[in-house]
Symmetry: C2
Subunit: 173 residues, 2 copies
């Protein structure tokens, strides 16, 4: 079965972006093997705000990937390059049963919260940047039910980035 994996960069204090959406603290690392990781996915899944932020910054290109945007307010006819899904649960439940590569939940923390509550997130994978921000957009939007995790892999790079992979042990407590 295809897995839905929430895979993002975070600060050590758990933010996926700064208070104003800043991502300049996220560094790339040649050791990271980003394209190898990308090749494990064929679908990108984002929330409305993340999608609008991607469009505003021009970072919408995910080669060879289908993009799903979870939103009750966006209109499909205004978003010709993506598939708008107003009700993600049945769409994702069906998609997981079909053959294909994994589904990359790219953010944000609000979509993650609702999908985790519905038991629809299989893994949480974070590239921990060596910085503390003090404020920003959280990895998991609160208030939320606790999400218990099981560590499956950890790698540290010379740049100081630590790549931690977890399975979601109990998605809906």
């Amino acid at each position: 079965m295809r897995r839905i994996r929430y895979s993002v960069a975070i600060s050590l204090d758990g933010y996926i972006a700064g208070p104003n959406g800043e991502t300049d603290w996220i560094s790339t690392d040649p050791e990271f093997g980003f394209s190898a990781i990308m090749s494990e996915f064929d679908t990108v899944l984002v929330g409305r705000r993340t999608w609008q932020n991607m469009k505003a910054t021009g970072n919408t290109l995910m080669p060879d990937m289908r993009t799903l945007v979870a939103s009750r307010t966006l209109l499909q006819r205004n978003e010709p390059t993506v598939t708008v899904i107003p009700n993600p649960s049945p769409v994702l439940t069906a998609l997981r049963e079909k053959p294909g590569k994994d589904i990359w939940l790219f953010g944000g923390g609000t979509l993650f919260r609702s999908l985790a509550k519905a038991g629809l997130v299989d893994a949480v994978e974070v590239a921990v940047m060596p910085v503390l921000l003090g404020a920003g957009i959280p990895l998991l939007a609160g208030p939320a039910a606790r999400v218990q995790l099981t560590l499956t892999s950890r790698t540290a790079f010379r740049s100081g980035i630590v790549w931690l992979k977890y399975d979601v042990a109990d998605a809906a407590i």
Copy 2:
């Protein structure tokens, strides 16, 4: 010179306690070597709220350690077991120059913010628990200046706890 090390357990999303001060999600690990780590310190440094939480839960025993409580409001005569320091910066600057073991900054995020801004924190060391809380008391109280870090060591335990140690690269940007 003695080092001031902010050494705490955090959730993967960067909280040192739950929204109501909960710490039940912090597990101990026999592999962790807690007493060996404790032996590197002879002084514990906490903020007022952390100290009051320690007293409320009865967790005030730090054998063979002197406890400093940073507070402008607590009265020394009401706190006979600790040393109240109303103005931490000169006290800590002087203390770092004296011989002795390291100083354990045990929390919380507000004291860490003010000490980091003053260039008085040498290291940040976190035991990352395999859980997401979604809300709670942050590792670094916001809003704050960014704290850049340099990874110095990482260890993963069978329990899924990841122990990350960083030097503070640039305490006061």
